[in-house]
Symmetry: C2
């Protein structure tokens, strides 16, 4: 770590640079009697902050062995950053004072705002007004500050470990306590940090902007995020795409999968967690790694800090057969591919291990490597030269302290083997154990660059790292998606919607509007097959409920009866509805019914698809993506359905033309986008699919009447 | 730990008592040059083994500062236990020598047997023969021995930690390396051990018998198992039921979920892992906790070592809102109920925390408890007196070393709060961190009885512990299941099978065998509804394929045509099959089709059910249990189906009478059992279900022709 913040050039300085790399700091609310004040001041001193530290105390009382003034306007210079931790009701005055002193970057620790009901929300709103009026950018309220490990600056009440490990992992979290837990766990695992930042209520500076800072920060290579909510959704997606382009993975632990967690988040920082399934789609589409636990967050980040993007698959060995079996089971569960080795690798292994019947990946090197540790080096070197292998790993427990068993010879061989072939190599502890200063010394002595573990977390982290690396190439594809221009159309009825969809390239069933029974009979004869008759009215959404649909009609008398019956029933059920007549179309019964619908969400318009019918709806088997989507996205959506097998032609059914179906789904999404932001939803239900014949049989647009 | 093995009375001594609590030991293969010998001898000495240690060396060379003899027959006494670690090819001779000396308990470390192909398997078979002929019980080969912490006896090459924590967790594993990892991780987490036992290839003593020893062992309260395979399946189920009755949870990490892990296990210890879904059913039915990772195994065990059976739900608090949200999400995922507090608890909480809008479980006590740590004690005490709460927990990080932040006041309040109300109380670390000697001293100082963590593992472990506690009551219900006596029947055809099922109490559709078209017409008239005609022949299993089934017949001409057509088609398709005629039954089209089938498995006969039709089959949505089952088992099977919602009357469909359906499933299972062990499978497909009308429409018995 450098002793002093490096100065960036004026032109490339990030808007938050002065906040996270301040040259001077004022503590507003400093007091000898305040635990906050003691902790914050103590951290600055402990990390040997080289800049000026000023204190503001409302009575001007000295604190921490240093004089204080009663107002920021009395300071001898304008500090880069003010940290405010006065009582809730005094925050507004403090902010005015800070503004009057010309300070432009602020953090607010005080709580009792957005997280504390309507009164607190009003106070927070006022805070934003004051800041905006004075050109102030601020983090908080309810922000427990940050630790900048890269420049050794802590502006935070959280204790900083004395022998902390600096590195390239940046941590961002709304929750201060959780920031501290994540940072502490990373340090325990020997993972070096660049920043740990607690954003609090995010009334101004939010997660997206902090991530933007870290993506631009040269000290940071991997970004770990704990989020209750994402405030600036468009900003977050944009910065995720920048991170991807920069090769810096974003790893997110986002709570709010459940109703209870959502309520707790509301009570905690006043945030609304949003629809969890839509956030899953964001992560898929923007190549963000989503994790479920703090351990998974940190272990995954630690692996990626070492490997960066991985080019190829994992080759993994162990002297424990049990460990190999656990790895195999877990890899399958989490989707980590463990391909067989290349034939020349297998041949080389058989030469080294002549007693082996079969060779697997993971490779159980058995007690042979206990008797002859050079096998570790020779086998890992062989794997590193396998063209399909992008990363080697060896499962072996690293000593934590001087009392731990330390097989120096084996570790030296493993160190040389993992360093072979210019590919990243990882040691994996069998269970999750700390990587102590002693462990790091053992690693340094043996040339072991990185360690992770235990088996479960390592395999999960490796699966994320490999998947992220593979998806990077296609990461910016959404840029290439043609964004549909607004069509200006506003279809209301099924008839208008089908016509609109057809014009937009969606395959639609042949159909006609008929105004009388005679016309219907003519149409039936022209169609040459059994037909369906449906009421045509822009005001009637639920056609089946009152008898507005008749299926499978195949003679003139039945058609006449059906037409008259539908019109009569509609007049009774909807006396005020304008009735256009009936819609007639061929009856379809072969193939499979799909559902395709679009919907507005907090993250923008999204599209959902799944098989139709009550079975699948009851099973909740649908795929969701944000619009626009590519054909590959649509194929991925179909592949993600549990019912995917049925589309492939299950039990003698005809296989669906998946490309044609994907094209239809893309076209429906594009058509919905072209209807503009007032469209609430566009449902195509069913989209009937039989081999390569894809047809929208019905369509329902729903508009925001307030718009 | 006691300095000397306690002697059990002769009558209650377990058959393995002398193996795991030997009063004297001989090391066969002892040598100054053998690493194994050094490690094994060193462990005995390090743990201050009070009994005699004898050495056998083929040349009689002294080792480890002690004389050796060339044969066990030359020893001055008969040791309780011999540990053999000579080369593979010398094991048989060593075993003969041990036998000649009168030794009756043996462990064999040597490898190269069942895990090493056909030649090794033959050697292992020979080893078993020698042992049986001489009344020897042995563990291994390929066994890395055991550490008996309760009596301080290590007969194992694995290093024993100098300051190990004794306790009540017993560990059993086939894999020696994995035993060591599990024991080491438990020790890291401060979880005390009674035994760590590595069974190896299990040629004689297997996991089931070792678990039986631990269930009987007064020092052991919880048993953790790592298994590649379960050899003695009936023994394992029996001991699982004893463990349940004794209130000692069994927690199992069993590999072999995937094909690759199965292959690796075969290569590792020569074991076949078996059908994983059947083992899931065993765990469900015998109240065994099945886990997926080493960490989950150990954390769950650690929780149960402290809590024992839990009577009620969990009440949990934290000063971190983020932690509460993570707990809420994880609890939902893993099925840990977090019920709301009782009204009087809520009232008490509102009094203590007047600023709170709402009160949730988990309870975010916010910074209020930082300012006033007495809140910890008062709130936890309040929860401990909530009648529905059986266990309290507080999320708070325990210091690992003197440098860690140690809020003595808060920890003291938490200690008193967790001890309140005579209910178990747990501290939960936010991330998975070691529980060091320092941590344990802090706990002792503050009266904190137990700690676990991190959040994810703790919630998973608590979910297991609560579920295990709840299921204990119903644990021995399988004893109460009426075990059907053999019926002596051997139905072959559909007709015989339907008749048999009906006799056994399974509801079967009304049906008749008809020998001519005229009879069929008479039957149709008597039935008064559309009918189905099906070929009746014991030799024709697949009736639909060749036109042997006609549906929905409702006039005399159609029935005549169908009858003649079916018979003619059958004569063409199966010229040699005896044809009984046709089976006629009313046509059913309402309701839902279920599939119910039984099958022989390695664990005994099992029953499977799920919805019929291609959708559900394609989705692989079935429930499986071992037979016999109770009505509650059958209800649980139905509840576990993803398609469960459809049975409840989804989208206006009629709700199924679940009790009647469950009774039918139980009756089918009992009927299959009563057909005896030669029955391979009995399929009832479909079992048609409409409200409370349940009817088997078809039945197919399959017999083992070799039997």
């Amino acid at each position: 770590m450098s002793a002093e913040p490096q100065s960036h050039g004026a032109f490339d300085r990030h808007p938050l640079d002065r906040l996270f790399r301040p040259r001077s700091v004022v503590l507003v609310g400093a007091s000898e009697n305040s635990a906050w004040s003691q902790l914050i001041h103590g951290n600055l001193v402990q990390m040997a902050y080289p800049g000026a530290i000023y204190l503001v105390n409302k009575r001007g009382a000295a604190a921490h062995g240093q004089d204080a003034v009663t107002s920021c306007t009395l300071l001898p210079a304008i500090p880069d950053l003010a940290y405010i931790f006065v009582p809730t009701e005094a925050v507004a005055d403090a902010l005015h004072d800070v503004a009057a002193a010309g300070i432009r970057h602020v953090m607010i620790l005080s709580s009792g705002f957005g997280e504390a009901g309507a009164k607190g929300a009003a106070l927070q709103h006022n805070m934003v007004d004051i800041a905006q009026a004075n050109g102030i950018r601020f983090m908080g309220p309810n922000s427990l500050g940050f630790i900048n490990y890269a420049d050794a600056i802590a502006v935070s009440p959280f204790p900083v470990e004395k022998d902390y490990v600096p590195g390239t992992l940046g941590i961002v979290s709304q929750s201060g306590a959780t920031t501290n837990v994540i940072a502490g766990f990373a340090q325990q695992q020997g993972i070096g940090l660049s920043y740990a930042i607690a954003t609090g209520n995010e009334a101004d500076v939010g997660t997206a902007e902090v991530v933007d800072f870290l993506v631009a920060d040269p000290a940071t290579s991997v970004i770990a995020i704990f989020a209750e909510t994402i405030g600036d959704m468009a900003g977050f997606r944009a910065v995720a795409q920048q991170a991807n382009a920069a090769g810096k993975p974003l790893i997110v632990l986002k709570v709010g999968r459940t109703e209870l967690a959502t309520q707790l988040a509301q009570a905690h920082t006043g945030s609304v967690t949003g629809d969890d399934r839509v956030f899953d789609a964001v992560c898929l589409q923007d190549n963000i790694i989503r994790v479920d636990t703090i351990e998974e967050l940190v272990v995954t980040a630690g692996i990626l800090c070492h490997t960066g993007p991985i080019e190829g698959s994992l080759g993994i060995i162990s002297i424990s057969g049990g460990a190999c079996e656990i790895v195999a089971d877990t890899a399958d569960t989490v989707g980590l591919p463990l391909p067989a080795f290349a034939p020349e690798t297998n041949a080389g292994l058989r030469e080294m291990l002549p007693d082996f019947g079969s060779v697997y990946n993971p490779l159980d090197v058995t007690g042979a490597a206990v008797r002859d540790p050079s096998l570790f080096e020779r086998i890992l070197t062989l794997l590193a030269h396998d063209p399909a292998i992008g990363l080697t790993a060896c499962i072996y427990d690293l000593p934590r302290g001087p009392d731990d068993f330390d097989n120096a010879q084996a570790l030296a061989c493993i160190g040389r083997g993992l360093a072979a072939g210019q590919k990243p190599g990882l040691l994996i502890n069998q269970s999750l154990r700390p990587v102590s200063a002693h462990s790091r010394a053992v690693m340094a002595r043996n040339g072991i660059a990185a360690v992770t573990g235990g088996l479960d977390h390592a395999v999960r982290g490796l699966a994320h790292a490999v998947r992220w690396s593979r998806n990077r190439d296609s990461g910016d594809k959404s840029e290439a998606v043609r964004r549909p221009v607004s069509s200006g159309a506003r279809p209301q009825s099924e008839l208008e919607a089908l016509a609109y969809l057809s014009k937009q390239g969606v395959p639609v069933i042949p159909h006609r509007l008929v105004l009388a029974a005679g016309e219907a009979i003519d149409a039936w004869q022209a169609m040459g097959s059994p037909v369906v008759l449906k009421i045509a009215s822009p005001a009637i959404l639920h056609k089946s409920d009152f008898g507005g649909v008749c299926l499978n009609l195949n003679d003139a008398a039945a058609i006449e009866e059906a037409f008259d019956g539908i019109i009569a029933a509609a007049r009774v059920a909807y006396p005020d509805a304008p009735i256009d007549g009936c819609l007639i179309a061929p009856m379809r019964s072969d193939g499979i019914e799909m559902f395709v619908g679009t919907a507005r969400t907090a993250w923008g318009p999204a599209i959902v698809t799944g098989l139709g019918g009550i079975w699948i709806e009851a099973l909740d088997d649908t795929s969701l993506r944000l619009l626009p989507i590519t054909r590959q996205d649509a194929r991925d959506m179909l592949d993600a359905l549990k019912a995917r097998r049925i589309l492939g032609g299950y039990r003698g059914g005809q296989a669906v033309d998946l490309d044609a179906l994907a094209d239809a789904i893309v076209a429906i999404g594009d058509a919905a986008l072209a209807l503009g932001p007032d469209l609430v939803a566009l449902e195509v239900n069913p989209l009937r699919v039989h081999g390569s014949r894809i047809e929208a049989l019905d369509a329902l647009p729903i508009w925001d009447d307030a718009a």
